[in-house]
Amino acid sequence: MPYMMAGFPDPDSSLAIAEAYAASGADLIELGIPFSDPLADGPTIHAAATTALAAGATMDTAMQVCEAVANRVPVVLMVYANMVLANGGPAEFAARAAAAGAAGAIVPDLPLGEDGEVRNGLSDAGLARVPLLAPTTPGERRGQICAGAQGFVYVVSTVGTTGERAQLPAGLTDLVAAVKAEAEVPVAVGFGIGTPEQAAHVGGIADGVIIGSRLVRAAGEAGSAEAAAAAVGAFLNETRVALAG
């Protein structure tokens, strides 16, 4: 389940990257909508959002990327609360996302308890509201999050923001097992997974593996739309082999 930032490094490249994700047989694309103040993101994705905005990316840019591939692979939008609440509010956002073919949305700064209006807006438009669950989430709350989950539960692997990590925490296996026991939807793990080996390890314990910063970095380093598409495609193929092995 690869992540990408809409409009990064520029709108054309991000379209090429989405095509490459679809072509490499991704199970789902997590499509980030660039925001000025992304609190859940580490340096790589924060910088990508800044670059995308400077290159003129808007909500429309993201919707165009979504529309281009949504008939081949499910797209879940990763969008910060302020962008859902602005511009006509949650219902309007959900309608636009649904029209672009999105399957759901992840709002990383809208935890359980703050999400009523947004969840209703998404549900009314037929979109899944995918919740995040962290290692610091207490047990009782974990149950509540699992009970309300739609699409899948997104387990944050590490106490921290997005970004590649040399080591995944030792407690991850237990955390994922606990979530799987409580959730009726699939359980995916993201944050910090940056090598095919790490992906293979997580693939062994969870239903889905989300790779973000590593792919965003590859896209940023590539230099052209074609090179970006080739770089992310190569990494995904390598990961697919590791996951199968």
Binding site: D37, P108, P111, T136, V156
Partner: protein, 389 residues
């Protein structure tokens, strides 16, 4: 102080943060609800107010300013608090709470450097590790405060993103907190952020208003006509407003930064020229575009250079209980010089915004109290640069 630690003020406030922080915010809410009712904690804080900060700060009858304005004006002298601004009230209280929660490490953000210095001071006092995030533009314009923080044993972590000012420093501090939440307390510097911070910071700053109200009643035997304060994130203003909120006859007036003018895109008037939105964990009034991207604020004073404001102010604005207006860089710089000459008090550039408004709006029906939130020594280099060019 009884009752709950509010999460919402009308529709505003809340906790718009990554899930990772929720447990820590719950812990903080519980710790504060318990500490503020606890006799021992209150005694400790009271002693620190008196012996370390130097409270109560004077309520000073500013005679020459009163003459100039046309009505009696009292200045609440937060500039005389230890470290030179009201920020210490919050920093000492939160550091004491950190110690009580058993966390060894503190992070903070700073714009003008006042909150950074206050937090570094409190951490030195309690022996806590301290990291202060500060935008590189603010490091440039508030150099003396950077040296003070380092001298006090804090690490100053430069933030190079965006406009390199307060907004990015807060974001960097929140990201650090997300990664280190199990060992670290975030001493946020104003009445902003996710719940319980706006209520916590207000509770710690209301000492300004509690003292001022008592001092004023003792001297004047009647309540003031107006209470005036500058508004950045809104902590000195909510601190002085709070005890007067139930006094229906007292006008509460908050002064934001108009920067180069509210008709330009270079200002810091989140309440006067903002829209409802989320910044740094709470729903409030923010300076943003139609898509929801947060825009850069601008003010000559680093402490007002912020595109958000505490959620309780947005609510006080909507209910009409407080009124908010804005003052330009040029007017604030003039007031900075004028108060210095009139009263022998060099105000912080932030506080100079409130003075500037008062200079233009004298003749109140009774007497006024103005929160002189800090002293201006930190601003001298910046003011000289701005007024000599």
């Amino acid at each position: 102080m009884t009752g709950t630690v509010e999460e919402r003020f009308g529709p505003y406030g809340g906790r718009y943060v990554p899930e990772t922080l929720i447990a820590a915010l719950d812990e903080l809410t519980a710790a504060w609800a318990e500490a503020r009712e606890d006799e021992e904690f209150r005694n400790q804080l009271g002693s620190l107010h008196r012996d370390f900060i130097g409270r109560p700060t004077p309520l000073y009858p500013a005679e020459r300013l009163s003459e100039r304005v046309g009505n009696t004006v009292y200045l609440k002298r937060e500039d005389l608090a230890h470290t030179g601004a009201h920020k210490i009230n919050n920093a000492i209280g939160q550091a004491l709470l950190t110690q009580r929660m058993g966390k060894p490490r503190v992070i903070a953000e700073t714009g003008a450097g006042q909150h950074g210095v206050a937090t570094a001071t409190a951490c030195a006092l309690f022996g806590l590790e301290c990291v202060v995030y500060m935008g590189t533009e603010d490091i440039r314009r508030q150099a003396p405060n950077v040296e003070r923080m380092r001298l006090l044993g804090a690490e100053v972590a430069p933030v190079d993103a965006g406009a390199r000012t307060l907004k990015e420093a807060v974001s960097a501090a929140i990201r650090d907190w997300v990664a280190n939440v199990e060992t670290t307390h975030y001493v946020i510097g104003s009445a902003v952020g996710p719940a319980p911070f706006p209520a916590l910071v207000r509770d710690l700053q209301r000492v300004i208003g509690d003292e001022a109200r008592e001092q004023a009643l003792a001297t004047e035997g009647a309540l003031p006509a107006r209470v005036i304060a500058c508004v950045g994130g809104g902590s000195n203003s909510i601190g002085i407003f709070t005890p007067f909120i139930e006094d229906a006859g007292v006008e509460l007036i908050g002064i934001e930064a108009a920067g180069e003018g509210l008709d330009t895109d270079r200002h810091g008037a989140s309440l006067g020229a903002g829209r409802t939105g989320v910044l740094h964990g709470s729903l409030s009034s923010v300076i943003a575009d139609a898509e929801g991207q947060i825009l850069e604020a601008h003010s000559v004073s680093a402490g007002l250079d912020y595109p958000g404001v505490g959620p309780e102010h947005a609510h006080l604005r909507d209910t009409g209980r407080a009124t908010y207006t804005a003052v330009t860089d040029v007017a604030a710089l003039a007031a900075f010089a004028e108060l210095s000459r009139l009263e022998g008090i060099i105000p912080a550039l932030e506080s100079a915004h409130a003075i500037a408004w008062l200079l233009e709006n004298g003749g109140s029906s009774g007497y006024d109290i103005l929160c002189l939130s800090g002293r201006g020594d930190k601003d001298l280099a910046e003011v000289l640069e701005k007024t000599s060019g």
